[in-house]
């Protein structure tokens, strides 16, 4: 076993010559796990095995502490008062924005807009950029593997504008058919909205290539980064995308806070999203002058503690050695795929070559909900159902699936507990 560390901050360190719980030797998994207090919980008398991080990740102590500290010591409304606490709160809130800018390698800090989550980020773009740039007979292109949140806002926009929603196909393994996607980008395509990592298939999409194809034909690209942000290094400048959306709660931060990254020149010309305080420079009953981005898109008092928590989550991720983290997550993923493939009657869904942190499966003659209930009694938490991707379920020809999803704190032992739980499932349904 790894030596006991008392420091609760998650600084990944090199542990030489031993593997700790599992996985590559240079990732101190025991230490990372100690940073997540909830992992010490028991469920139905069994130690919690949390394999539902794609739904929401657990929170490290540092995030919990940062939010608590803000509420205990720094809370006041931002951008308003001249008093001491107002200044502290504004610094904390804007400090979080600067951390997110670094995290995404955005060129400018004002390219980071705080929103409630990925869903709101996509709706914001649909309702502002979409409303002014997508007209009758124009087209918006999405893919067959999108989450409902990257389908429905575009459907609503297309319906309103008389535009057409088109869908790029995927292979049976769950990979984008790039040649088909390219053919679907035409002169009428105003926007391509694509997920970076599929929440069902785990597929990592070749965003740079999609961006090049779209830009060559004058279309803008929005990337749904909800599942990518906790696992991949995201560099919006290298990706070249126009918009990037993410949720705090999937990357070790709290719920109710997320980010829309938008390229400066696009945010500048976009109309505001909602009207209210903070998004204005001056208001009279005759005319209102809007604030500059990001304020223009942040009407009302924002989720300040949430932003502070997200900032702490970014710090937490930055404190982990990213190559070691990637290697660890890949190790558990590969181990999980191998172990599940050997379970009798189990079929893996989503077998793309490049995958991140999601293993979806179906079991012969056992519905995913029954799998979920039985695993729960073993302390194993997985997601079951359609994963907010009903069109993808139809494409795959399954009404629902079971999904185990991983995070930095996941281990090979978690996978072992899952496999052993699946044995119990077979026992019940034998």
């Amino acid at each position: 076993m790894t030596e006991v560390q008392t420091n609760s901050r998650a600084t990944a360190r090199i542990v030489h010559g031993q593997a700790g719980r599992s996985g590559p030797a240079d990732f101190d998994i025991e230490r990372v796990r100690r940073d997540f207090p909830i992992l010490r919980e028991h469920v139905h008398g069994k130690p919690l095995v949390y394999l539902d991080s794609a739904a929401t990740s657990q929170k490290p102590q540092a995030v919990i502490d940062a939010m608590s500290h803000f509420l205990l010591k720094e809370n006041a409304n931002v951008h308003r008062g001249v008093h001491y606490l107002a200044e502290r709160a504004t610094d904390a809130y804007e400090g979080a924005r600067a951390r997110v800018q670094q995290f995404l390698n955005a060129k400018e800090v004002h390219e980071i807009v705080f929103v409630r989550g990925t869903t709101e980020a996509i709706n914001l773009v649909a309702q502002t950029y979409g409303k002014t740039h997508v007209g009758a007979d124009d087209e918006v292109l999405i893919t067959a593997m999108e989450h409902h949140s990257n389908i429905v806002p575009w459907q609503m926009l297309c319906e309103e504008k008389g535009a057409r929603l088109r869908v790029a196909p995927i292979t049976d393994a769950g990979e984008l058919v790039l040649s088909e996607l390219e053919k679907l980008i035409g002169p009428k395509t105003k926007l391509v909205a694509v997920t970076h990592v599929s929440n069902v298939l785990g597929t990592v999409n070749p965003i740079r290539q999609v961006v090049e194809m779209a830009h060559a034909r004058g279309a803008r690209v929005l990337v749904d980064g909800a599942q990518a942000a906790p696992h991949l290094r995201v560099d919006v400048q290298a990706l070249g995308c126009d918009f990037y959306a993410l949720s705090g709660h999937k990357m070790y931060g709290p719920t109710g806070i997320g980010v829309l990254y938008g390229r400066s020149e696009l945010l500048d010309e976009m109309p505001p999203y909602q009207g209210g305080g903070d998004m204005i420079l001056s208001v009279s009953f005759e005319k209102t002058v809007y604030n500059k981005p990001p304020g223009k898109f942040e009407a009302g008092t924002p989720n300040m503690a949430g932003a502070v928590g997200l900032g702490a989550a970014v710090d937490f991720l930055a404190s982990l050695e990213r190559d070691a983290l990637s290697a660890h997550e890949q190790d558990v993923l590969d181990y999980g795929i191998r172990a599940l493939a050997e379970v009798p009657g189990l079929r893996l869904i989503g077998t793309a070559r490049g995958k991140a942190s999601v293993i979806c499966f179906v079991l012969d003659e056992v519905h995913p909900h029954d799998i979920g209930t039985i695993l729960d009694r073993e302390g194993v938490a997985i997601r079951t159902g359609h994963h907010c991707a009903q069109p993808l379920m139809s494409r795959l020809g399954v009404p629902a699936t079971a999904r185990a999803s991983l995070a930095c704190y996941s281990t090979r032992q978690d996978i072992d507990a899952l496999v052993s739980g699946l044995g119990k499932v077979r026992e019940v349904f034998r």
Partner: protein, 156 residues
């Protein structure tokens, strides 16, 4: 296996889920209703043939978990020959059993063979699986839901 799990997945439940009774399209149905569980994607089509004021025949098709399939199967087996108001009254008792568990109000023996569903109440997340068929039945009998179709009752 825990006692709760054994109560939930009783042999009769597993049997009905693997070999659901009345699992077919019913030709000559006078009422048809479709039930969806939007949270989990369960889908069920219920066919009812009403004749002389009783449920002469009843059948279903669809995809769902063991609990929803077994519940639908047990329901169809229990309702043949019953009047619609008797069927709905039985749903009332089953609903109490599923949501509140066996009590003085509703004892397992009050619902006959459907008593095997009484383990569900310990799993609140699964109650909706067990009630899907019944809600669909109510739609079919009362004709309240938008998805109700009344094929067989029209001129053709």
């Amino acid at each position: 296996m825990s006692a709760e799990l054994r109560d939930l997945y009783q042999e009769v439940i597993i049997d009905h889920s693997k070999q659901p009774r009345n699992f077919r399209k019913l030709e000559g149905a006078t009422r048809t209703a479709e039930g969806f569980n939007p949270l989990c994607g369960d889908q069920l089509t219920l066919y009812v043939k009403l004749a002389d004021g009783v449920i002469e025949d009843i059948a279903f098709q669809g995809a769902g978990c063991a609990i929803s399939k077994a519940s639908a199967s047990l329901m169809t087996a229990a309702l043949k020959g019953k009047k619609p108001e008797e069927a709905l009254a039985l749903f009332g008792r089953v609903h109490i059993l599923l949501t509140e568990g066996p009590s003085a109000t509703v004892k397992p023996e009050d619902v006959g063979k459907l008593a095997v569903l009484s383990g569900v109440w310990e799993f609140p997340m699964r109650v909706k699986c067990a009630t899907l068929a019944w809600h669909t039945l109510r739609s079919a009998l009362e004709g309240t839901a938008g998805r109700i179709s009344t094929e067989g009752e029209g001129p053709d």
